[in-house]
Structures are given as C-alpha cells and as structure tokens.
C-alpha cells in the first residue's frame, strides 16, 4: 500500500492551522522546483532504455548517501496505474511522469514536502512544497538538497547558459517557483482577465490547478515564473513575491469585500447551493465537486458558514479524487460507482 510511505492522510503541505481570514486563505501552497541533468548521460529524448534504467539505479544509490531516513524511493514503471494516480493527486509527481514510459521513479519524504522525480522531462526534478506563502523556506531546502546531491552527482552545466535542461525554457537556474492560489471571488466577478494581464506584463505564468496545459478547476490557479535565465534564484523568487502576487492578493480580497457589501445575497446563494448539492446529491463528478467545494472554501474563509473547517475542506479536495476514493472504498470502482461513492463520502463528512 503506497500510502503507508506517508505520515498522514493529507500531505503536510496541505495541512493548515485555522486561518483568521488573512492572505493564507488565498495562498494555498508554495512550491519550488529545480530541473537538473546528470552530466555524462544524454537527455531523456535520446536516452536508451538501458540508460534510463541506469539513471534510476545511479540516483537511488547516490540519494541513499544523503542519509535522509525519511526519504523513500519508488520505481514508477513497475508501480500500478492506481498508485501512480494516487501520487499525482497528491501533487508528488507530474502528469508527465505518471503517464510516461520506461524506467522512472520518485523519491518522496514521509511528510510529502519533498519529492525528487527521476526521468521526467529532465533526469532530475526536485520539488519542495509548503503550505501557505513560504517560497523562501522552500528555496532554502531545495538549494540545500541540490548542494547535497552535487556532492554525489555531477550536473550538466555550462558557463554561459547555466544548468542545462532538455527544454530551453528551463535552462539557467532550472528554477520554477509557484504559488497555488484560490481566487473564487475574482472568478465570480469576472475579473480573472485582469489577473492574466498583470501576470503577462511581468513575465509570469498563470495556469489551472494541475499546471501546464489544463483548465483551472475549482478556482485554483498556479502563478509561476516564466523565465529561468539571466536572473539569480533569489531575484526570481523576489519578483514573484513582490511584483504580481501582492496585487493579485489585494484584488481577490477586494473582490470578496465587494461581494460582501454589494451583493451578499449572491455570495450566500452560491455557498448555500454548494452546501445543498454536496450534502444531498447522490451522484457527483469530480468537476461538479470541485466547483462546489470551492464555494464552501470561500464561505469558510469569509466566515459565512461555520462547522466546515479548512482542514476538512483540504481533506475533501484530496479524498474525493478518483484514486483516493478507491482507497477509501477499499476496492476498484468503475466511473459511475466512483460518482456514487464520491457523493457518499461528501454526505458523510458534511453531515452538519
């Protein structure tokens, strides 16, 4: 059972101390990712099956030297599709790695704040996750682990372009910093265009919950740096934290206030309908669930409903996804059975 490799039902980066209505109800989590390639191997697109296998063994052997007792390495090509889906739903691996081919793996810490993917688009993709706005803390840990890895592995680097990556969009620092934002009021007021425009002006990217190439689900967005070359890691982090983020946070808070003062009935209607559907529906798709859970989260953050904690909501966001539902049910469920079981789980937890 793959979940035995973790400490708790919800990763530490998703656990919350009850927020008092500050920006932490908007910034769900922070993430820092470093892309690295091992110097004397071809990049993934030119690596043979044997080289991919060798990269996994080499990484597993070298990462063991870090002496991090709480870090577990697992091969993904031999893992079941169900286990890969579980790791994906917990944000510990990317879609690319879950669906990929050939030898590949991931090292994950028991508290799920660190994951190191092997043979993703680059040989090594190291990511550090934290709950709330903690980019500096994420970077400090990622930097340290990168240093530790460099004691045992030589990474592809050149004096002009920095750390060399398979795709030139990651070259240089190999650093992607992102914050996951919950922006339901901006979405409700139809002001997301302004956020997209502000991000674009500052060369930042904004995408839906699961990152590259997907629609925003449940009003969760990921704001990240677009470019990785020509600025130091600290500058990249500083720019994201100071250039656009405060503006987006202000816009969402302002949108929430405007809803409250101008159209409180609309706000409470959305929250009430969400609660009604989630408490009484018998068949629920993932999309419909995320749509309504988003309003419950907004209602809780704004103090419009009581009895539904942020911790419970975070748990529901995770445990209503398909692989987690099947763990909860302790059996395989076909798509229709999943929708029924999803409604059962929600009714059970929201039985206020």
């Amino acid at each position: 059972m793959i979940l035995d490799a973790f400490d708790s039902p919800v990763g530490a980066w998703l656990t919350v101390t009850e927020p008092a209505g500050g920006s932490d109800t908007i910034v769900v989590s922070s993430r820092v990712r470093l892309a690295r390639n091992i110097a004397n191997f071809p990049f993934m697109s030119k690596a043979s099956a044997a080289q991919k296998q060798e990269l996994c063994s080499l990484f597993e052997q070298r990462v063991a030297k870090l002496g991090m007792a709480n870090l577990n390495f697992m091969m993904l090509d031999t893992a079941s599709a169900h286990d890969r889906q579980l790791l994906l739903e917990r944000h510990l691996i990317s879609k690319n790695l879950a669906a990929g081919e050939g030898a590949r793996g991931v090292a994950v810490s028991r508290d799920e704040t660190l994951s190191i993917m092997v043979n993703e688009e680059d040989h090594i993709r190291l990511q550090v996750l934290r709950s709330g706005l903690k980019l500096q803390e994420c970077w400090a840990q990622a930097d340290q682990i990168d240093n530790d890895l460099q004691q045992h592995l030589e990474f592809a680097f050149n004096h002009r372009f920095g750390y060399l990556t398979a795709c030139p969009t990651n070259v240089g620092t190999g650093l992607r910093v992102s914050v996951m934002l919950h922006l339901p009021a901006l979405k409700l007021n139809g002001d997301m265009d302004k956020v997209f425009a502000a991000a674009k002006d500052m060369h930042l990217a904004i995408r839906g919950l699961y990152g590259e190439g997907t629609e925003a689900v449940g009003d969760f967005y990921q704001l990240s740096n677009q470019t990785t070359l020509g600025r130091s890691e600290e500058e990249i982090i500083h720019e994201l934290e100071s250039a656009v983020l405060p503006q987006v946070l202000y816009m969402e808070q302002d949108a929430r206030q405007r809803l409250l003062t101008q159209r409180p009935y609309l706000l409470d209607d959305r929250i009430g309908r969400a609660l009604g559907v989630l408490k009484y529906a018998r068949v629920l798709s993932t999309e419909e669930t995320l749509f309504h859970l988003s309003y419950l989260r907004l209602g809780t953050a704004m103090g419009r409903i009581s009895g539904v904690s942020m911790a419970l909501l975070n748990r529901l966001f995770l445990w209503t996804q398909s692989a987690h539902l099947q763990v909860e049910a302790a059996r395989d469920l076909d798509p229709e059975a999943r929708k029924v079981h999803r409604a059962d789980v929600l009714r059970k937890y929201l039985n206020l």
Partner: protein, 177 residues
Amino acid sequence: MEQCQKCGQPATVHLSEMVSGEFHEIHLCVQHAAEAGLVTIIEESAQMPGDPDAEIAADLPELTEPELTPEDEPACPQCGLTMSEFKHHGMLGCRHDYEHFIEWLLPVIETAQSGQSHHTGKLPRARSPLELETVVLERQQKIATLRQQLQVALAQEAYETAARLRDDLRQIESPGQ
C-alpha cells in the same frame, strides 16, 4: 589576424569552449569550419544577384542561418539530434547540443527567456579539484552581469552609470592593466 588551425589561411570562424575547466580557442577558415559542421556555405546561385545584404551575409557565413535539408542537415556528434527534430518536439538530446547548435539555439533561448542569454544564478558546488573552474565561472558570470547592467544603463541613457560599468568591465576583462 588568427590563422586557420587546419590550413593556415585567415580564420573567420572563432570558437571558445571549455573542456574540463580549461578554455580552448578554435580558429578555422570557412571551408574547414564547414567541414567540421560549424557553418554551412550558401552557394552563390542561391543568392539574388547584386543584393548587398546577401553579399554581406556571404562574407559572414557564421551569422547566416543555413538552409536545412534532411540529407545534409548537421547532427550533434554526441547524441545525433538535428534541428528539425528539435523543432518538431522541442526537446534537446544532450548537453552538447547547447554548444553544437548555439547559432540556432541562441535566438530560441532569447525568445523563450525574454531576451536573456547569460546565466547569473547558482554555480555548481565546487569540489576540490575543480575549484579553479569555479573561479573562472565566477569571473564569466560577473562579466555577464556587468554587460547586462551596461545595456540597461545605456537603454535608460544613464551615461554616468554606464561609464562606471564600462570601467568595471575593462578592469575585470583585462586584470593585468
């Protein structure tokens, strides 16, 4: 003027690369550079007659984008990647592609990276025999940063700052003087 290392003719293609912490300078004439796959010579018949831009381009073969045909398209000697392959799926095949295809990649990188083309971030951790390499890298990095600041200063017409940066650059580029 540098001479071609193969035939002694005046060299028009100059490359510097770093191997195991040491800089190597390579100077080649157009013919030998073409043989090494570094440039492609565009046949005169392909040019518009009397077009001055084309003549300038013919004088500067290393600045001209060669025409790519599947048969004679250069491939990376290490991983076999060709630029058509790269254009097709957007992934490079090995670290050497960054040196081998620099002419093609530089505009791609600058477009993807908002005009930037020099790393100014974290350097590889120095391991004792390679400390010298790090010193060289740090110097390179400092030069890159200064050049970048100089460009910004010039663009903003901050000439006093620009003058100071230029002095700094001169000093770091020729430390003996």
